[in-house]
């Protein structure tokens, strides 16, 4: 089965074609990050407007890249949620109407299920069951995955998502939006031992997390090291970034370890924007070796939002006979553990 996937849940317009026999045939993405950077964060109305302008040109491009005639797919999958309602609406209304015009089935896909299954697009995919760490600007969740649609929440952040904490720490350090990757870049040059930030909630049992305190800690540490002009020297900046990153990564690693031990599973997958973080991958590699387990993640461009993961997730459900009706389905809030199993 060949499925066109459309992703418009936030600030990237992604379109891809996945074929269950031939794999990924085409994948294109337009990122609005630069536009939103001028505003210091995602402006939902502007995101929606940009999706409207970009979606059809990207559809042309993906069919061209795949070497396919326009419309040469068996079904269509679009992101229904969670995400920004206005942004979701663009992909959902265009995608659903397009499927009607083609007289093909369509399905609304859960954005985080897309992320969770993204490592399946790699050459060496995990197999069920596994533990998934979904870690992005909007989510930080540990999920027990027994199969597609069989998700049990093991723990989650009770306040800021890890990626959000990265962005906020960047703001505290005066770095530009989106600051998360810049914090990681600075951390590369930093001394990870000069400052020690707390590891929130690791002394408590369970797999819930909390990251909101780390931004205050970052700000206080930065303020303690400002010169008379309020500036922080480059090395100190890098050292603070490293201490922050180490605290987040360490916390995630501790919770992931608990999740592996709790489930007895031997596979851990990480997905979402923060799963591209180099230090997180290193730290988790070390941890899984000790646990005699294995770590899986997607290539960097499939860690962030993309159409390929939506096409893939949609394809799995469509092949199992699931599809949506003629309604345009958007679910800005949609708990992962309410999904139907295959």
């Amino acid at each position: 089965m060949r499925v066109l996937g459309i992703e418009t849940s936030c600030d990237e317009t992604g379109v891809a074609i996945y074929d269950s026999e031939q794999g990924l045939l085409g994948d294109v993405l337009y990122s609005q990050v630069k536009m939103h950077a001028e505003y210091g964060g995602v402006v939902p109305e502007l995101a929606s407007r940009d999706h409207v302008r970009k979606l059809l040109p990207l559809l042309d491009e993906v069919f061209q890249n795949a070497g396919l005639e326009k419309g040469d797919v068996d079904a269509l999958a679009y992101t229904s949620g969670p995400g920004l309602i206005g942004a979701l609406m663009v992909g959902a209304s265009t995608g659903r109407a397009l499927a009607l015009a083609w007289d093909k089935p369509a399905i609304g896909v859960h954005h985080m299920e897309g992320h969770l299954l993204a490592p399946m697009l790699e050459e060496h995919p995990p197999s069920f069951p596994f533990v998934a760490l979904l870690v992005s600007g909007g989510h930080t969740q540990l999920v027990q995955v027994d199969g597609i649609g069989q998700y049990a929440l093991l723990g989650e952040s009770l306040d800021d998502a890890a990626g959000e904490a990265f962005d906020k720490a960047a703001k505290m350090l005066g770095l530009d939006y989106p600051g998360g990757p810049l914090v990681a870049q600075h951390a590369l040059q930093g001394d990870r031992t000069r400052f020690r930030f707390p590891r929130p909630m690791v002394d408590r049992p369970g797999m819930d997390m909390s990251f909101s305190g780390l931004k205050t800690y970052t700000l206080n540490t930065a303020n303690d090291h400002r010169d008379n002009d309020g500036r922080i020297d480059d090395q100190t900046m890098c050292d603070i970034a490293a201490a922050f990153e180490e605290a987040v990564v360490d916390t995630l690693a501790i919770k992931c370890k608990r999740a592996l031990q709790h489930t007895g599973f031997k596979q851990l997958i990480i997905a979402g924007g923060v799963s591209a973080n180099q230090r997180l991958r290193e730290r988790l590699e070390e941890m899984v070796v000790k646990e005699r387990a294995e770590l899986f993640y997607a290539r960097p461009e499939f860690c962030t939002d993309n159409g390929a993961m939506i096409a893939y997730a949609g394809c799995q459900r469509l092949m199992a006979g699931q599809h949506s009706g003629l309604e345009i389905v958007t679910k800005p809030r949609w708990p992962l553990d309410t999904l139907a199993p295959l």
Partner: protein, 227 residues
Amino acid sequence: MSNILALDTSTDACSVALSCNGEIKEDFRIIPRQHTQQLLPMIEAILADAGIAISALDAIAFGRGPGSFAGIRIATGVAQGLAYGADLPVLPISTLESLAVSAAKAEGADNIVAALDARMDEIYVASYRIENGLPVMELREQVAAPSTFAVDAEGYLAVGSGWRYFEAMPESVKRAVQLSTETYYPSSKSMLVLALDAWAQGKGVSPELALPVYLRDQVAWKKKDQQ
């Protein structure tokens, strides 16, 4: 007459209209927040009733705004999706012109000021002179505070939800207009009148150029250096 499907979701009303083999049919419903559930089934039903496939249409028309941002994006998305999928041109139609067509037909007025509630104490407004049943724009479409807009002649019929701000409007406007006692919504049927005319004039565009007209382009977003 050409085969054109028109759709509109710019207000609480949701409507689809079809011109097929010289006959015009409309399905018009007031369904706040239900547009996403009902629009495509309405389209499928009106096409099935007429026994015409999407691919047999000549063009798709849609209410391109001004109106609720979410609403006009639903219409835009559906029009883009249908037209892209069936290789059809698109006719973007003004919601304010649509109001003017409805009122001109129902009340026989020659001069019309159409206004829609734009929320945030503003209105979308434009005025038209009716020639041969079709509106010719005089006051260009704009988003304005009710107290700031002006019409330069008298004898206008005032239609649309924007007139709920009548009390806040300047005396000159209050003198120049007569409030219609009827409630008009932008509708796909009146859009079809405009679409058939636009189609005859060769005004169809390719689907990726079928874009909303928001009028309000500065709301709650400020660049960092302006914050």
